[in-house]
């Protein structure tokens, strides 16, 4: 859908640059006629089309790709609104500054000392990396809502930029998290992320806390997709008839090793689950592990509204994203 401007009364289509704001009202330049703004299917005659060539020219390839995907999920009809662009463009700049600050802090590393919040900050960075990596991976692999994946990446940037200079320079966890930040961006903005990656690799004072995780000799697009840490706690969700009743935090390595029957007995020990089942016979148990992200067990009991079940599965997935 394209942002469309029409003259009130006649319905004549006008171009955006022929419209101006007078007070709170939109009017046509020159005539002063009142203008109504709507969203309509793009077409030449309505002067509301977005030309990809123009966009590539104005913003470049990677920003065009990011702007196309950000804010709206792939399954909804896209409203083109340049008002949403600054957020994405600013974020790119914040990533750029993150590399600049990383290099600056590392160059001063010999003169820096760990502050007393160092451990606390490092733990926060560790948790943020896992949290946002889990979210973005889930979007890329299961829901395909890339707009949500982008907002997860933006979340990680926010966390990283809270770090103090000593953490940026001396923390192996910061280095790991910054690597994950850049790798996650690679599928959407390959040129820009490659440049960030080179800036990252060229920075002196490499720590390489988890050897083998970062392939330092390989270009960005050949990096392996990162994994959440074994000890990071993921959600194990318990559902009854497609409704979330409760959830447990389980370390990734443990969650991956649980069998369906393990999970079933864990869930049946939870009073929130048993009270919802309410002694009704269980007719089906669905278990799904989303590797590195979460797992969900769903008990289907007799007397549930069978018809609404199928769609609720999907609704649940959509909500999760």
């Amino acid at each position: 859908m394209g942002k469309t401007f029409r003259v009130k009364g006649t319905g004549r289509y006008v171009k955006e640059h022929e419209v101006e704001k007078v007070g709170k009202k939109l009017v046509e330049k020159g005539t002063g006629a009142a203008i109504v703004q709507t969203w309509e299917k793009m077409s030449k005659s309505k002067h509301n089309g977005v030309d990809p060539k123009q966009m590539l020219n104005d913003y470049g390839v990677d920003s065009t790709r990011l702007l196309t995907l950000a804010d709206v999920s792939p399954t909804s009809s896209r409203n083109w609104n340049e008002q949403t662009f600054p957020g994405v463009l600013k974020w790119q700049h914040r990533l750029w500054l993150t590399i600049r600050n990383f290099q600056a802090a590392r160059n001063e590393r010999d003169n820096l000392q760990r502050s007393n919040t160092f451990d606390e900050q490092e733990a926060f960075v560790w948790d943020s990396r896992n949290f946002y990596l889990k979210g973005a991976t889930y979007c890329y692999s299961f829901t395909h809502q890339l707009s949500v994946a982008i907002s997860k990446m933006q979340g990680l940037t926010g966390s990283l930029r809270k770090s103090s200079k000593d953490v940026i320079a001396l923390s192996g966890e910061f280095e790991r998290a910054l690597a994950v930040q850049i790798v996650m961006l690679a599928p959407i903005a390959p040129h820009f992320a490659s440049e960030l990656w080179s800036g990252f690799k060229e920075t002196p004072g490499r720590i390489d806390k988890n050897p083998g995780e970062i392939k330092w000799d390989c270009p960005l697009v050949e990096q392996a997709w990162p994994e959440t840490d074994d000890l990071y706690k993921l959600d194990l969700n318990f559902m009854v008839n497609n409704h979330l009743k409760s959830s447990l935090k389980v370390a990734r390595c443990e969650l991956h090793s649980l069998s369906k029957s393990n999970v079933e007995s864990m869930a049946l020990n939870d009073p929130a689950v048993t009270s919802s089942i309410h002694n009704r016979p269980i007719i089906d148990v669905k278990y799904k592990l989303f590797p590195g992200c979460e797992a969900t067990i769903n008990f289907i009991t007799l007397k549930s509204d069978k018809k609404s079940d199928d769609c609720k599965d999907d609704e649940y997935l959509a909500q999760k994203a």
Partner: protein, 515 residues
């Protein structure tokens, strides 16, 4: 020395891995502009710098270690330039493909051109260029635009449906359907677009009766047309929507089920007598076991025979149909719905069995036929129903399960720029013959392109079964919502057909739809 020149020079010494590692280190340096603020000019410098250094990925058919992942995006019509909807679809598809590569999968992401169709013919008329050169120019421009977007397509598998190397296999698949008894010609009342001068399929015009393409008011016109008996697969296509291999289809399942309709009846061909030609009438019934007790045939207003023999409502036509099971002649009536409040679609042509259906009894009274009011309605007999259907199927006169509203696939188009229907008409061998001039609906071209991608240069077969079955079903299919009905239905139909002749292992072609 710029990296590109170095790269070219090193190309000569391909065997030297040492040189390559130097090249890689050299090339992966950043531009070092970190102290500048990121503006559009720096972004463009970055893109210029990385454009030729990003690795070109391609699917490796020899690799049996990595899991395959087939990312398909709906191929574009080469209209001249990409629009923003294309940019969105191909960026989504490319981002997903790149993600799965980083997850260690052997990703296949091909691209091609849905290149037959009307705009090329119109352009040819307006500008005096050939449809072919107009199309190939557009392909070139749009391919450059896709390259600019840095989409990592497997360009080695590129195809265009208008190339003889492609469409001869569209024809090949058509002929295989012909030999499987799925192709027939029939005079029917069709939706005629008076501006584009062609027939339109159901769904190619909107609710107000205007063509999607030309905007012209669609007319009804009797024409002898080619059909594919897609309804024969209706039940398989309906049930396939519950296949466990489909992931998260959500409302697409509903849209498809609505289109196909619940397969609660069957269609049987009844020869028509007195019409002066050899046409048959496709009659729908949900009580085939009682076919011997049928007393009349009911036509919906507006159907072909109603137009050919016009008159008032609730009338009897001067032609008769022959019951293929009993040989009995049956009268044909035209009537609307009994209950005007009823919002369900009326079948075009339905068998009237007053002994087995309340509404048929009412119709019989309306038409003044004798009805034995005292006898109770005949009960359903599913065993006998199966027997009658099987008999009809073995005689080649229908018998397959289908909903009351689904029609066969009309593929005839009176156009030049399309896949020619590969049929030669002749009275008898050796006599004068004429080549069919109709071409196929472009939905036929696009119903199997994802299979051709797996083996695009094969000139012996549409595709090698082994290489195709390694790659399909497609893992994720990205595209526009507007293709979730017809295109998807036809592609699924062809896949079910190719499965039925042993070409495909899996019936369903697409695991996950992202529209």
């Amino acid at each position: 020395m710029s990296c590109c020149i170095l790269s070219r020079k090193l190309h000569v010494f391909k065997q030297s891995t040492f040189s390559f590692s130097i090249l890689r280190t050299y090339c992966s340096k950043s531009l070092g502009l970190w102290n500048n603020d990121l503006d559009e000019s720096i972004k463009k410098k970055i893109e210029e710098h990385w454009k030729h250094k990003l690795k070109r990925f391609r699917y490796d058919p020899e690799d049996n270690k990595r899991e395959k992942f087939y990312v398909l995006s709906m191929f574009p019509y080469p209209s001249g330039k990409l629009h923003i909807g294309h940019v969105r679809v191909y960026t989504i598809s490319d981002s997903i493909a790149r993600f799965h590569r980083m997850q260690g999968k052997n990703v296949f992401q091909p691209m091609g051109w849905d290149a037959f169709g009307l705009p090329a013919e119109n352009a040819a008329i307006e500008r005096g260029v050939s449809a072919e050169s107009w199309t190939s120019d557009n392909i070139k421009t749009m391919k450059d635009q896709l390259m600019d977007l840095e989409c990592s397509f497997d360009w080695d598998s590129e195809l265009a449906t208008c190339h003889p190397g492609y469409y001869k296999f569209t024809q090949d698949i058509f002929l295989r359907m012909y030999h499987a008894g799925l192709v027939y010609q029939k005079e029917t009342l069709e939706n005629w677009d008076p501006v584009d001068k062609t027939v339109l399929a159901d769904g190619q015009f909107c609710e107000n009766g205007r063509s999607w393409r030309s905007g012209a008011k669609v007319q009804k016109k009797p024409l002898r047309q080619w059909f594919i008996r897609s309804t024969k697969f209706a039940k398989s296509l309906y049930e396939g929507l519950d296949s466990p291999i489909l992931e998260n289809w959500r409302d697409i399942t509903k849209v498809q089920k609505h289109w196909i309709g619940e397969c609660n009846g069957t269609v049987i061909e009844f020869p028509i007598s007195g019409s002066g030609d050899d046409n048959t009438l496709s009659v729908w019934t949900d009580k085939a076991e009682h076919i011997a007790r049928s007393k009349f045939i009911l036509l919906a207003p507006g159907s072909l025979l109603d137009r050919m023999y016009p008159g008032e409502m609730n009338r009897k036509l001067n032609i008769e149909a022959t019951n293929p099971i009993t040989g009995e002649k049956l009268p044909i009536y035209v009537a609307g719905k009994l209950d005007e409040e009823d919002t369900s679609a009326q079948p075009d042509c339905k068998l009237g069995i007053p002994d087995a259906s309340v509404s048929d009894r009412e119709y019989a009274r309306l038409f003044g036929l004798t009805v034995d009011e005292s006898s109770p309605l005949l009960a359903d007999d599913l065993e006998e129903r199966d027997r009658i259907c099987a008999r009809a199927a073995s005689e080649g006169i229908g018998g397959h399960q289908v909903s009351s509203t689904l029609r066969d696939w009309l593929i005839s188009r009176q156009r030049h720029w399309g896949t020619p229907i590969p049929i030669i008409h002749c009275q008898q061998c050796g006599s004068d013959s004429s080549r069919e001039t109709d071409t196929m609906d472009t939905f036929v071209d696009s119903s199997w392109y994802y299979l051709r991608y797996t083996d695009p240069r094969n000139q012996e077969m549409a595709f090698n079964k082994e290489s195709a079955n390694k790659l399909v079903p497609v893992d994720i299919y990205v595209g526009g919502k507007e293709h979730a009905v017809l295109h998807l239905y036809y592609a699924r139909f062809v896949s079910h057909f190719l499965h039925s002749i042993g070409w495909l292992k899996e019936k369903e072609p697409f695991k996950r739809m992202l529209v």
